[in-house]
């Protein structure tokens, strides 16, 4: 039965034509492969396809610091020798190399998520998909984990303008630390991340006991997992937790990051999920019939990424795809089986039932502390200590804060260029 949901799908061909560098596992070309496969299955017949606008620096600065954006915009691979200090400051170089067309790449994938969020806000679609997005590690002032601009935070900020509560779900094998950090102190965004934790696994955060702080306490949920989790364990835990979260938090919109590095056989991952298991999570989230923004994320075995996100596009369209991959330009990548399925690995599931049960129990305990709407406060003006360099006299609660913040951000970031230590400013508000 065809889906009654309106699906908007965002893609720009230029996003795949960047190269992170030799031996770098992140290969945006996987997005071309995904797009091609999606269309080879005729899925374009059931959804709208949009080419996103390239996000302007001022849009990116809705979250990121202006000096960071400016540097990203200016830096080129030829000139990196001139910017050693800045590269260090913004964490560029190794995991996050400077490559040709880096900024444009960021603009495209961030623009996709922004456009998706705006279409949802305008109720022009029920589900919006941007497989190029989902770069959840990027911080406000620095890059991290192959992520430069945090499109998820930008998209969520956009959604927050018209939704009181946004639920963020992350099934990437890595902890969604950038998104969690951005919203760690607010209750208007509930972040839920399922990820590998421990053994020096990047980024090292995501303990079950990290539950948020201040107004955001209990509004961050972390599900730390061990190697080898399989479909049955994962989907059972996922459904139990997400069901409880939605029932408790009553979000107005859901943002789902579908990092495909949680699949078996991923170059960097260590889980043992099949595409069916991964897609089952997507199906489950869709079943709540809430406005839904779906993004990509990690995924370093590119043919599996293409398989996974194609299947999940089908899921979002309530369309089951034939297993045999139709002939297409990239068919060679899918040898030898040319199938949408991937093989699970013969690996031990280190997540015992006891362990998973304990994690679930702890998550449920946190959720018990939450009062759902109408108890959830809506912050009109962010608390002082979020913006320590704001002059209280200047703040007018009746005014929209955004313009203010925009100006202030630029001003503050100029200070950073001069190397001022803002600790002094902050101390005034302590």
């Amino acid at each position: 039965m065809p889906s009654k949901d309106r699906i908007a799908y965002f893609y720009d061909g230029d996003v795949g034509n960047v190269y992170f560098g030799p031996n770098h596992p992140m290969k945006p070309h996987r997005l071309c492969m995904t797009h091609h496969l999606v269309l080879s299955y005729d899925l374009h017949k059931k959804m709208e396809i949009y080419r996103p606008h390239k996000a302007y620096p001022v849009e990116l600065a809705q979250f990121h610091s202006a000096d960071y954006i400016d540097f990203l915009h200016r830096v080129t691979p030829d000139a990196i020798n001139l910017f050693e200090l800045e590269l260090s400051r913004y964490n560029l170089g190794e995991d996050c190399p400077v490559f040709d067309n880096l900024f444009e790449f960021c603009q495209i994938y961030a623009g996709g998520t922004l456009d998706a969020a705006r279409r949802l806000n305008n109720q022009l679609c029920d589900i919006a998909i941007n497989w190029a997005g989902g770069l959840h590690h990027a911080k406000k002032c620095q890059a991290s984990g192959f992520c430069y601009i945090n499109d998820l935070v930008l998209g969520i900020l956009e959604l927050l303008k018209y939704h009181a509560r946004v639920l963020y779900i992350d099934i990437d094998v890595h902890h969604g630390d950038g998104v969690e950090e951005a919203f760690y102190f607010t209750d208007r965004v509930m972040t839920v991340s399922f990820h590998k934790y421990g053994d020096k696994f990047f980024p090292g955060t995501g303990d079950v006991k990290d539950i948020g702080e201040q107004e955001g306490k209990y509004y961050a949920i972390n599900v730390p997992l061990k190697d080898g989790i399989d479909d049955a364990s994962f989907t059972k835990l996922f459904k139990a937790i997400i069901a409880k979260v939605v029932e408790t938090y009553l979000p107005g919109v859901i943002v789902l990051q579908c990092g495909a590095d949680s699949l078996a056989g991923d170059r960097l991952g260590c889980f043992n999920l099949s595409i069916e298991g991964h897609a089952e999570c997507v199906r489950f989230v869709k079943s709540f019939n809430l406005p839904l923004l779906v993004t990509g994320g990690g995924g370093y075995t590119k043919e599996n990424v293409a398989r996974c996100w194609t299947v999940e596009t089908g899921v979002l369209l309530d369309t089951e795809l034939q297993n045999g991959i139709p002939n297409n330009e990239y068919i060679n990548y899918f040898a030898p089986d040319y199938s949408l399925k991937i093989q699970s690995r013969n690996m031990e599931n280190l997540n015992s039932r006891t362990y998973l049960s304990t994690i679930k129990m702890q998550v449920f305990e946190s959720l018990r502390c939450i009062q759902h709407a109408p108890g959830v406060q809506m912050q009109e003006v962010p608390p002082d200590f979020y913006l320590p360099d704001f002059d209280e006299d200047e703040q007018n609660p009746d005014e929209r804060v955004d313009q203010h913040i925009q100006d202030k951000q630029i001003q503050r970031d100029d200070e950073y260029y001069d190397g001022d230590n803002d600790v002094d400013h902050n101390n005034e508000h302590l």
Binding site: N17, G21, I49, H163, N328, N332, T354, N421
Partner: protein, 582 residues
């Protein structure tokens, strides 16, 4: 800032959090001693302690206090939101507090510089410590470590617990006195142990403390450098053109362009019939040479045509299909393709080289996007197609150094070793460039014997790089391998076995080829297909020029660049093929 933590609302939250701690009542005032945390997890966070020292020494405000500690946290059986200041006071008064704070390994420890990297094989010990600018403040949230089936090692308590310095209450790093940090204890959970030692925490001291595998701390950066600014909620009436302009502070004009440009409009779902997709896969065809490259290409082309018919030309173009697949190679000449292949082959990442800047130099008329597009849509795709036919179960489309020819040369080592090298060249860290550079330097002095040069760790086709006193020898070997390889990739390129006699011509050809694509000048020509970044600073340039330049097939069309040849080889070198234009 901390006043807010002691107000009524916070207390209420404290009450709530207390209730969360099911089963405990009342809570004794001591910090739990938890199981020994996996040191390996924390070793990698050693930057924390080192950066602490660095931040105090630095004047630019970058501070480790800004960093997010990735350590686990443990619970302190205090009210969750009261400051550590008051908690410590209470604990002291009770006299039953143990403090065991486990932070990162102490400063100076050799392992402490490692940082968790997303790329598992990165073992960069030189990483620059990064911190966000403008540290504001921190909340250290001490939470419980995740429940685990590991037993809690109480026995280690006495051995490992050390009293920390007695600076906690007046430490500039703590509580309300601190301009940098605020330590906040969250709700406690499990605990055990009972020690009379006072709870004394100086985070800075603790960070360098050699002890303790017990308490873990998560540092959550707070401030305008970390958190997003939450927009206020608006009514839907605000959804008009002006809203976005106001948000961004610029006139954005029509709202429509911020919603994406439509490439495929919404179909009429009621009339959509799910057509049977193209069921043909490469495994099902009637071709007599089923499964061959020709067969695959034919079916791919057929699929492409069908798709174009279904979409229409305009949509086909709009959706980017013209830029996908081997069809991209139609915009490239054969010469360009050959040069591209050569550049990639001669600058393998496994040897610490990077072919991308070389490609940029060699193809000045091509944009970076075009190069990347060709790389993925043609180069890697073809390689994968070959892998599929050669060894489908071990195909790895990320291995751009894969060579079918390397499997033929079993004499070098057994096949498994070669395959391991193939895999290693992709997965493992690149070969230590210094070693290679040193070999090259030594070879200049004639100290290296030929045998030593050809280290079995390197891919066979790369051995030609390591020259000896006879700079041409490497070229000959390299040329032989390269030409064999080129054969596999392009049937139009003739095998050239006479390269050693044509070294001058080769160079000329090489320079000419580069010149043909816009490379000008001697330096450019010489470096046009090699990664000169790699060789900088460790070689005699002239010898390196001779050694590193690859071979060019004889039958390629060459344009003369006599002045370049003369510069390098003197006037005796004369081009054979074409007239020399001075």
């Amino acid at each position: 800032m901390y006043s807010g933590l002691n107000d009524d609302s916070s207390q209420l939250v404290c009450e709530n959090s207390r209730e969360v701690n099911i089963g405990e009542s009342p809570l004794p005032l001591f910090i739990p001693v938890l199981e020994k945390y996996q040191l390996s997890d924390l070793e990698s966070e050693g930057f924390h302690s080192k950066s602490e020292a660095e931040s105090r020494n630095s004047c630019d405000g970058n501070s480790a206090a800004d960093k997010v500690s990735k350590e686990q946290t443990t619970d302190v059986p205090c009210d969750s939101t009261i400051s550590v200041h008051s908690c410590l006071r209470a604990a002291e008064d009770a006299g039953t507090v143990t403090s065991l704070v486990h932070f990162k390994r102490p400063y100076g420890d050799g392992n402490s510089d490692d940082v968790v990297r997303k790329r598992a094989r990165q073992k960069d010990r030189d990483k620059k410590l990064v911190s966000s600018p403008g540290i504001s403040s921190l909340i250290i949230c001490l939470n419980e470590t995740p429940a685990s089936e590991e037993t809690l090692a109480t026995a280690d308590l006495d051995d490992n617990a050390e009293s920390l310095t007695d600076n906690s209450l007046s430490s500039p790093c703590l509580a309300s006195n601190s301009g940098d940090r605020h330590i906040q204890f969250s709700s406690c959970h499990e605990y055990f142990g009972n020690d009379d030692r006072r709870l004394e925490i100086d985070p800075l001291e603790v960070l360098r403390s050699p002890l303790s595998d017990y308490l873990h701390c998560r540092l959550v950066p707070i401030g305008p450098s970390h958190q997003a600014v939450i927009p206020e909620l608006r009514s839907r009436l605000a959804l008009k053109n002006g809203a976005l302009s106001f948000d961004l502070g610029v006139d954005v004009g029509s709202n429509d362009k911020w919603l994406g440009a439509c490439a495929v409009a919404m179909p009429d779902l009621s009339s959509v019939v799910m057509e049977c997709q193209n069921c043909c896969s490469l495994r099902e065809c009637d071709c007599p040479d089923e499964g061959s490259m020709r067969c695959a290409r034919q079916h791919i082309m057929e699929a492409r045509e069908r798709l174009k018919l279904r979409l229409g030309n305009e949509k086909f173009f709009q959706l980017g299909f013209c830029e996908m697949g081997e069809v991209v190679s139609q915009k490239w000449t054969r010469d360009e393709e050959t040069l591209f292949h050569k550049v990639v082959l001669l600058n393998p990442a496994s040897l610490g080289r990077n072919f991308w800047p070389v490609l940029s130099r060699a193809f000045r008329s091509r944009s970076c996007k075009e190069l990347v597009s060709y790389y993925f849509n043609v180069f890697i795709l073809r390689k994968r197609a070959e892998q599929n036919r050669f060894d489908p179960l071990k195909a790895d489309s990320d291995n751009d150094e894969w060579q079918e020819s390397s499997y033929d040369e079993v004499a070098i080592s057994d096949e498994e070793e070669v395959e391991e090298d193939q895999e290693d060249s992709v997965v493992e860290s690149p070969v230590d460039v210094d070693d290679v550079g040193i070999r090259t330097c030594l070879s200049e002095q004639g100290d290296m014997h030929d045998d030593e040069v050809y280290d079995e760790d390197y891919d066979d086709e790369d051995k030609g790089f390591f020259g000896d006193s006879d700079g041409f020898r490497g070229i000959r070997l390299k040329a032989k391998n390269t030409s064999q390889t080129i054969d596999k990739h392009s049937s139009d390129v003739a095998d050239d076995q006479d390269i050693q006699d044509d070294s001058c011509t080769s160079y000329e050809g090489q320079f000419n080829l580069c010149d043909d694509f816009g490379v000008h000048g001697k330096t450019d020509a010489i470096n046009c297909i090699t990664d000169d970044e790699y060789v900088k600073g460790c070689h005699d340039s002239k010898l390196w020029e001779i050694n590193c330049v690859g071979a060019v097939e004889k039958d390629m069309e060459l344009l003369p660049t006599c002045h370049v040849i003369e510069e390098v080889f003197g006037k005796e070198t004369v081009e054979n093929d074409a007239g020399c234009t001075p």
